[in-house]
Symmetry: C2
Subunit: 244 residues, 2 copies
DNA sequence: ACAAAAGTGTTAATTTTACACCCATGC
DNA sequence: GCATGGGTGTAAAATTAACACTTTTGT
């Protein structure tokens, strides 16, 4: 909660201020929760149990707790998104990275009343993806392959939000830190490459990817971790992102 | 205004829906209006005439017109920003490009009540910058060199918003379309380079910039315009961005 | 031994970066 | 003519891209 050193004039003004009764919008936080599972980019969608759009798939989201008093103005947007993420996945807070996507406030986007939604992107590390449960509320939540989602049938304007979210995710992946948020704490080079291929939906030359990765190691961005992976034919070396 | 083909169930539900009285936040649109003037990146700031933060500099902004009825939900966020831009600069609508920056809703960021601000970036072409008037409301508006703004004294959390806006502007400049929005309709290569140097606050090698520019011409992104510029010692060739 | 995936090497094409230098014009 | 800034040329370094090849393991 931000506080200011108010001038005496401002303090008096704020004290005497009474919220006017201009119409105000409802405020929600929706989250596009991504992960990479089975070398495929997935997004968590819920099936709506209540109208409007009952039965349709939608991004998880909910109302932001708002207070209008000076001293208790309610919950931060980021916290609301974090809460939504926790409620829908059961993952402990802090286990996924959240980034704001933007605000969606077009009139009519919710048929009931004016709603402004602040959309977020959440990145769930691959190793935690299988742990997500159905979600607290009755609505069933599950991973859906982004490539196979029928955008036209999503509730509200979630087609646009999901489209924007995947675009931003792809762009953000240019930063290694984005990939870091999607892989397990320790990973092999081929596993990391699979993240890129899943998000970009295109193959990456293994040798060239390796070269890029080598630079990250030289820059101290990533480092060897002990052990080898047991699964593959030839065991791959294990790495982890350095703790900055 | 977006409309949906609602199912009968949804239509009935929406009809019977009455807005609950959970607390709702106030909603504003603030705009970081940028231009390049005298080879320097400028931002339009107003001096607040009313508390809170009377006398402090702030980004122009105002309340978004909100309706809570089903059929009249009020004004789009983009339109509110456009309106604010027009009111503060006097420029005809459409003469500057608007891009959403993001939502700012931290509790306490406005000492009066909970306010969610959707921040925008506006790009004013260099040739129009000298035309902006003081602004409609009494508050005086004027161009300020971004490099010389004292962020610590800005009103509200506008220090953070302006910081984020300049960061995004710099990143967006990687796209030629961003530079296109900041230069006059016709321009010389050195003039365009000045835009980059102003935004990045660093010199660009003229020869290398020229080479990059040459590629844009080959890609049909930009084309020769008739005439030469009369000002400089040696008259520079004039170009314009192709109309896509 | 052999298939499959990890890992290495080589080379061309392209882009980036850093300079040296020529050229046209207003004064 | 000459200073100034527009415009051209060159070359090393770094990155990107494509592809052939070797190595190591479980079965």
């Amino acid at each position: 909660v931000r506080t200011y050193a108010l001038s005496p004039e401002d303090a008096a003004f704020v004290e005497s201020y009474r919220p006017g009764d201009w119409p105000r919008p409802a405020l929600t936080a929706d989250v596009a929760i991504f992960t990479v599972l089975d070398a495929d980019l997935k997004v968590l969608l819920i099936r709506r149990g209540q109208p409007p759009f009952r039965g349709r798939l939608a991004l998880p989201g909910g109302f932001v707790q708002v207070g209008v008093q000076k001293n208790d103005q309610g919950e931060d947007l980021d916290d609301a998104a974090q809460r939504e993420l926790h409620e829908e996945t059961g993952l402990p807070p802090g286990s996924a990275e959240l980034r704001q996507l933007g605000a969606y406030g077009e009139p009519g986007r919710d048929p009931r009343t004016r709603v402004v939604t602040v959309a977020y992107i959440a990145l769930v590390p691959s190793n935690l993806a299988p742990l997500v449960r159905g979600g607290d509320d009755a609505a069933e939540a599950g991973w859906h392959s982004v490539a196979q989602v029928d955008f036209a049938t999503l509730a509200f304007d979630h087609d646009r939000i999901l489209h924007d979210a995947t675009s931003k995710l792809r762009a953000d992946l240019a930063q290694p830190s984005t990939a870091a948020a999607l892989v397990a704490p320790t990973f092999t080079i081929p596993e990391l490459r699979a993240v890129y291929e899943a998000v970009w939906q295109s193959d990456h030359d293994a040798a060239n990817f390796r070269r890029k990765f080598r630079r990250w190691v030289e820059d101290g961005l990533v480092e060897r971790a002990p052990g080898h992976r047991a699964t593959a034919r030839k065991p791959a070396a294990v790495y982890r992102f350095s703790s900055k």
